[in-house]
């Protein structure tokens, strides 16, 4: 089932959240990058990418997330990831890059939650 979708909202001032659904692979990666660049056109402090609805992630998706992190940092913002289901989360572990990202709201990464960082 190839399918990928992002829905964006603003859970707080200076915070843009994109919720991912479907499969983040080589076909979906450009959509994610393009979307984030659009969001960063306005002043933003935190970009949250919510992986809860994601069903598949591979190295192309991981690469897109690293690009997004770089775009965010260049724009003076932080990237915070909301962990996905186990089959998605396991990719960060297999690739040995869990510590390369700031996770929130889950047990798979840092515990400095989203609430504190958006105000």
């Amino acid at each position: 089932m190839d399918f990928f979708e992002i829905s964006w909202d603003s859970p707080g001032d200076g915070c843009r959240r994109g919720r991912l659904r479907g499969e983040l692979d080589v076909a979906a990666a450009p959509t994610l990058e393009r979307d984030v660049l659009q969001q960063l056109a306005d002043p933003v402090e935190v970009v949250v990418i919510d992986l809860e609805g994601l069903e598949f992630l591979d190295s192309s998706g991981l690469r897109a997330l690293l690009m997004v992190q770089e775009h965010a940092q260049r724009a003076g913002a932080r990237l915070v990831l909301v962990p996905g289901p186990p089959r998605v989360q396991s990719l960060f572990h297999v690739a040995e890059v869990v510590s390369w990202f700031e996770f929130c709201g889950g047990t798979n990464g840092h515990e400095d939650g989203l609430a504190g960082s958006t105000t």
Binding site: E23, V26, A27, L66, L91, A95
Partner: protein, 132 residues
């Protein structure tokens, strides 16, 4: 409760795909078709490896070429064995964790840490094989 695929013999297929950005998704869907003959964890591992290898074949060897990526899979109680072939020039495998700050180069590292065995042979193009 009855039914279930536990007594099914091994199943295999050969899939030819174009160098298309949706080829990895198509290959993953075909791997899902092996659900009747193997354990879910093995299937998930094969699904990830196939996604990585088909993506590499599409990006590095077959972009835009028709039916130039070939996926062969064979699954049974003993595991899944597969190979992804392309028609591109030979390459050297590099499967270490990329340096901190890299944004690419994770594909074969993931394959290396997911497969029980894997390797590359060079015939016409590249053939990356694996077992899970």
């Amino acid at each position: 409760m009855s039914g279930g695929p536990s007594t099914q013999p091994a199943l295999s297929f050969e899939l030819r795909l174009p160098g298309h950005s949706l080829a990895p998704a198509l290959a993953r869907a075909c791997v899902d078709g092996l659900a009747g003959v193997c354990a879910p964890e093995r299937l998930a591992a094969a699904r990830l490896i196939v996604s990585e290898l088909v993506t590499n074949a599409v990006i590095h060897a077959s972009k835009g070429l028709p039916q130039s990526v070939v996926v062969e899979l064979s699954a049974g109680e003993a595991g899944i064995a597969g190979v992804v072939r392309d028609e591109g020039p030979p390459f050297e495998a590099r499967a270490e964790l990329p340096d901190r700050g890299s944004i690419g180069g994770f594909g074969l590292h993931i394959v290396d840490r997911t497969a029980t065995e894997w390797g590359i042979t060079h015939q016409v193009g590249n053939a990356v094989w694996f077992k899970v």
